[in-house]
Every structure is written in structure tokens, then in C-alpha cells.
Amino acid sequence: MQFMLLFSRQGKLRLQKWYVPLSDKEKKKITRELVQTVLARKPKMCSFLEWRDLKVVYKRYASLYFCCAVENQDNELITLEIIHRYVELLDKYFGSVCELDIIFNFEKAYFILDEFLLGGEAQETSKKNVLKAIEQADLLQENVDFQTRLFAV
């Protein structure tokens, strides 16, 4: 995977994870173009599109679009499963996740993603293990900050 973008129906970016080195300017350009392209798609269209020299796999969950750019040799159908797994993880963590959760807790969304994917590939295929790791890390954060709770983010 080269990058993953989450954005709302209005085109507002909620999360961006880049696995390839690009300048800020390029990232903004790509984001703008891709968001436009995906938002222009009709509901009956398939979840894949060819964009530049990449394959883009996207799926809409409620008000959020999850959009991944993968390479030509990647399996689009399993990418859909990856997206779905990420949504499930978010759902388990936040308890019936909605867009607001991701807006207000974006750093947590990133932490979860980073526990699931690394360098664009899945590092853990067990839902349970990903959630356990996040839980432990959260605890670690709490314990160390126990006495400085006031300074929590």
C-alpha cells in the first residue's frame, strides 16, 4: 500500500497515512485530486479505480470514505478486507465508532492503524492481538502519567 486516506462526504480529511516519501505539496495535490475523483463516483460503481499508475480501492462506511492506493500486483479484494478489518478494530475500540470519534481521537485512530499495518502491510492478522496491544500501550500511557493526569493530552 502506498497510502491511505480517510475523508468525509464533504471532502474533509480525517486521517492520512503515507507509506511513500512525498513532499507536503505533492501530498496535498494527490489528496485533493483523489478526493474529488472518489466523491464523483456514483454509488453503483465498483470500488476500484485506476488512478495515475496505481489502483485505488475505496469503501464508504457511513459518512466516511476509506481510500487506499495499492500497487498493481496487489490484490484489490483483500485490500477491501483490510479496510474492513481496520473499521472493525476502530469499532471495537471506540464502541460503535462514528466519524466524530475519529475526529476527536484522531491520534488514537493512528495508533490503532499503526498497530495493524506497518509500512503498508498487515503486521497482525488477529483482531484480538491488535486490540490487546493497544490496550496495553494505553495502560502504559496511563500508568506513567498517573501522577501527571492533569497533563494528559
Partner: protein, 833 residues
Amino acid sequence: MSVDGPSYFLASLRRRMPAPIRLRELIRTIRTARTQAEEREMIQKECAAIRSSFREEDNTYRCRNVAKLLYMHMLGYPAHFGQLECLKLIASQKFTDKRIGYLGAMLLLDERQDVHLLMTNCIKNDLNHSTQYVQGLALCTLGCMGSSEMCRDLAGEVEKLLKTSNSYLRKKAALCAVHVIRKVPELMEMFLPATKNLLSEKNHGVLHTSVVLLTEMCERSPDMLAHFRKLVPQLVRILKNLIMSGYSPEHDVSGISDPFLQVRILRLLRILGKSDDDSSEAMNDILAQVATNTETSKNVGNAILYETVLTIMDIKSESGLRVLAINILGRFLLNNDKNIRYVALTSLLKTVQTDHNAVQRHRSTIVDCLKDLDVSIKRRAMELSFALVNGNNVRGMMKELLYFLDSCDPEFKADCASGVFLAAEKYAPSKRWHIDTVMRVLTTAGSYVRDDSVPNLIQLITNSVEMHAYTVQRLYKALLDDISQQPLVQVASWCIGEYGDLLLSGQCEEEEPIQVTEDEVLDVLEGLLASNLSTPVTRGYSLTAIMKLSTRFSSVNRIKKVVSVYGSSIDVELQQRAVEYNALFKKYDHMRPALLERMPIMEKTATNGPSEIVQTNGEAEPSAVEAKHPPPVAQPANQANDLLDLLGGNDVVPVIQTSMPTKPASAGGELLDLLGDLSLSGPAPAPSVPSSQPPFLLDGLSSQPLFNDIAPAGIPPMIAYNKNGLKIDFTFERANPNPNVAVITIHATNSTESEMTEFVFQAAVPKTFQLQLLSPSSNVVPALNQGSVTQVIRVLNPQKQQLRMRIKLTYTHKGSPVQDLSEVNNFPPQSWQ
């Protein structure tokens, strides 16, 4: 920093500013902004506060501030002033700090900035941290955005962690290694030992990432590939366990056990089995098993099937397995899920070359997909349909594809039209069908047809001799309907110009011949000239067509009038053509019939699809010439015809026009000999033309050398021919700016008592040269050396070969015709070096 008890209160008292607002607070506030301007204001205010806080080196709130900065960055605001702060957070001992710090590094830093290198040491320390979650953060960051320098520095640490027994770290280290290898491929070797027992792991996370690592290594190095082939049995075993094992809650997805791992294993097997019989053999069974046993009701099952099919098609599988794979794809095509259909079409496109017959079986389903609503599916279906057209199904397929062409989106039309032309060319069952198909495309998608189709179509029409009357009639009728589609109009004009006589005579056999008068036809053509819809190129075609009709129709006066009117056209191209045609009427009327004769059959070059630059005289035609000309100029070398150039109309003022060493022969006789052993390509069976001197471009009536800025290179003149009183001298100049061009002016003088009339000078050069003959000053050589006929020859000699020339002279002397052939070999070296 100690944060309990009294020191905390002291610190808080000492604090000059109020505590920075919390992240969630900020988010809430910003979301209340009703306009972009309001939001920007809030952001700017907060940024200012954060900047001050950073300046104060406040450790306590750094984390919070950076988090807020990251939020604002996501909204699109600049956050580069937070980069160093991220580094400080990473260096902190607090886990929260590190977490946010590494996140910030991944979002704000990139390898183009030197700042990122400062991270290297922190990461190194954290890779060796006592807490695995800290190590995890470091591995994640390195594996996500580590630059080549960082990777080089830290590869050793990653390699160490790849050997740890801690599966949490091991899986991360594997993917981190993948990133390192991608950035610094030379480091791949050092990870080899650690891969030894990766696949013996029970932990799925480690297995999955290990397979990814092995895949990366095999893809990059044939040696690695050979080395890892021995893992095939082990991989097969793991895959088998996944399929056969019972329900495993931890890895289950809709009844399938760890589909992610299955897919990755299948992909690795594909790479290992490719071009290797033994490995392919070893995986045949498991592939068959997966293909038949996988549940297909949900996407996840189909994802595995998809990968299986790809693997079967790529390795050396037995034919039964391949048929199984194609059938799976065929079933996919019928699936309700669009995504599955899309994926099937893509895969079929890849396999259609190798397993053509198997794919043919699904042809009707594929053709149905042309009607799908989804653009990507339509495109795939179109490409696949074209790939499936063959001699047997061409009529049926074309019908579907033409229907598709009618109704498809503009973005498809060009490709579809080209595809139809190609397929028609290859498989047309009859000439009539071919022409009909071409006509259909031109009339329905005429404006989307590629420019180079026009010459191809004209060639096709020319060569379908028996269909000329039918073709021109249909094209004429099409023009009456619609003159907006330029390629159609161009082809039609050309045809009318060529075959206008057939149109009049009503000779059409294929359908009811139409009744049309000369005036009506000329009306149509003149209408094209005048219309706003016509492009300059089209106008050129029309004018030329009108001119050609002067030898086919009787309304010569009308044509003369049109031509002279356009002699003062603002369009330079038209003006030039008109002027030349005018000249043709006035001064060279005797040549007109021959020049405007019917085109000969053109031999096909080996073109497939868009015509390539064609070889003429062993040299490529300048592409500028091709772009504007009707096919004749872009046609096979054998044609080299003056006629072609004239009829094409030339705007090649600065460009050297290919000239004709193979002059059109009268009954193929003399010129063949003329050119015979100058090793030229065989001349074409061209219709006869007595004289071969086109009144060329520029002001064809001038006998002046073309370029007046020629610096005389001091090349001595020579006598080329001297016989029976006729003497021909050659004088030389070098044309600037092209040093490969020699400009020769011939001076023909007559020392006899009677003049030589109808004097024609012809010349031919060997293949590696190009020759251009401009028009002579006159065709009467006065007697007793009282004057001379001059003519300019331009010779292009890019290979700097020795110049040789054969010349042929014809004239009438004292009432009898005289003809002579001669060779000119005594060119001074400076003329061609």
C-alpha cells in the same frame, strides 16, 4: 522532572502563561467556526500560543501542543515549526511523549529534510528499550518513513530484532526489514540468516510478515528466489492447515481462517512456482483444493479465489487446473458484485493471450459487460472484446462493438474506433463489409477517430478497386448529412476527388446508384471550403479534390474560378495550393491530366494500427510532412511519385520533400532501366506519366536557386553531359543551414542551329540520397547557345556517400524526338563531402 507534591505547585505558580488548552477542547472550538476565515483566525491564535510555549521549552505541555499542531496540520495548515519539538518528544522518557512524538515524526518529517536524521539516535536507543511498546514505536516509525541513511545505520538493530523470540517485535521487525530492503537493496543479504526459521513460527502475525519479507526478497533477487524455492513444501503445508483446520476464532473471517495469510502465501507460491516445473508440480494439489473448497458467498472467499487464479495462471500448472481457473473467472463474471466482475475482467485480459480458447467460451458474458454502468468495467470489457475477435466471430462481435461505439462515453470512442479499424483490417470477411464498417465508424464517431486513421482508410479504399463506386456514393451521401466530423469529411473529399466520375456515372452495383450532377458535387465541395466547421486540413483536402475533378468533370471553368478565388485566401496553405493549381491551369495544362490521374494501388507497409513513419528511399519521411498530407505521401517507399506530392499539396517549404528516383514509368519500361543498377527499390506499377517534373512549391516558376543565402563553397562546376550539341553543366552550392544538402543548378545549352523544344530533364539518385527537382526555367533550349534552360536540383546526402546520378534527357530537335540516358559520375568531392 518530579511532578508530585510541592514542586508541582511551585512550578504552576511560576508558570507565566495559563495551561495550553487541551486537544479535544481545541478541536471542539475549531469546529464551531462558521467560516473559513473564522477557522483560520482561531488556528492562527492557537499557533501563536503554541509557538510561545515551544519557545519556553515547556516540557510539560509539549506533548499536548504537538498533538494540537498535528490536528491543525491535518486541516491543511502549516506545522513545520513543530518538527524539532517532535524530536524532543521522541527523546523524552515518557511514553505519552514518545507516542505523540513518533506520530508527529511520521506526519511532519520527511526524508528530504536533514532534520529527520536527528531521529536516528533516538530510534536506535528505543529499538533497544526495555519496554516492547517503545521498541514497537521505533520499529513502526523506521518501517514507515525511514530514509536510506537511517536504514543503513539501523539495519543491524532490525536484524537483531528479527531473531528475537518475542513475536510482537519479530513481526514488526520483519516488515521493517522489508522497508529497509526497499530503500537500500544492497542490505538484503544481511537479513538472510534471520529468515531461516521464520516459517516455523506459530504466531500468525509473524508468519504473515515473514511471508511478506520472503516475497520481497524473492522479487528482488533471482538468487534469493532459487534459495527459497525449498520452502515450497512448508508453505503448502501451512496453507493446507489453514484450509483444513476447524474454526479458529482468533483468525476467522466469515468462516475462512486467516484469509490475509492465505492470500500472501498464494502470492509467494506464485513467485516461487513461476518458470519452475518442480515447484509448480508441488503446489498443484493445494491450488486445486483451494480453488474448489473456498466458500464464495462473501468477498473474502473470492479474494482468495482471485489470488489462486492468478497463481494458477502464472505458474506451470497442468491444463486441467488452468481450465478450472478460467471457469472460476467465468463464474466471477456472473457474480452480482461489481467488484468481482471487475476483477474477473482484469484477470481474463491478462490470460486471453495464453488461454484464448478457454476465454472464448465466456465471450457472450463479456460482451454483456459492455452494457454495464460502471466505467471501469466497460473499459475492461471493451479491451477484452477486442482481444477475442477472430475470423469466426467477427461479424457478431463487430455488431456489438459498433453498438457500443454508438452509445458509449466520449472517453471510449477513440479507443473503440481504433479497435474496430484494427479488427476489421485483420478479419474482414469481405471488402464490402469492411467498407461498411469503416463508414459506420466514421459516421457515428467520426470526430473521435485518430488522425492517422485517415491515411489508412484512404489506402484501404484505394485498394478496394471494385468498391470505388459504392464507397464514393456512400461517402457523398454521408457528407450531405453531416459535415462536422473532420476525419469523415477528409476521407470523403479525397474520395470524391478521386472517384467523382464514378459518382456521376451512377455505376454503383452494390446499391441503388444516386443521380447527381457535377454542379451538385462541386457545391458540396465548395461548401466544405467555405464552412466554419472545416479545419484548415479539411479545406486543403477539399480544394485538392476540386482540382482533381477538373480532369474528371467537364465544368472546368467553374473549377478554375474556385481555384483562382482561393489564390488570395488568408490561409497560407490554401493560398499556396490554389496558386499552384492555377499555375497548373495556365502554364502546365498539358501536364494536368497526367498529374491528376487516378491513384495507383498502394502496397501495404507492415503497419499495425496507427501507421508508423514510412521508409522512403531508405530514409524516414519528416513527420511534419505526414501530419498534413493525405496518405500518398505517407505511403510505401515503392510509390515515390511526383504525383503524390503534387496531389497532396505541399507546404514543405523548408523541408526537403522526398523526390522520386523511381519516376513513374511509361509502361514500366525505360525508367526501370534508368534506375536499374543504381540499387534503388523497385519502382511501382505506376500509371504512366510522360513528364515527371512537378511544378514544385515555392514559386515553382522561378529558376533561381532556393536559398539565396548560400555561401558558395567554391565547388567547381562540371560538365555533366555533352552530346549532339546539347551540353549540360552542373554548378554547385551548399545550402545553408543544412550541410547535407547539395544544391545543383543545371544549365542546358544548345550549340546546334535549331532549338530544342519540349526539353525535359530527369534525374535519379541511389537509395541513400534524396532528390528534389525544381521546375525548369523553360522547356526550350534556344539554338546557338543563345540562352540556357536552368533547373535546380537539391540532393540530400546525409550519409555523405559519393554522389552519382543518372540522367535522362528528352527533347524534340528538328521535328524528331530525341531521348538519351547518361550517367554522371564525375562529381567533385566537395559536392558530397
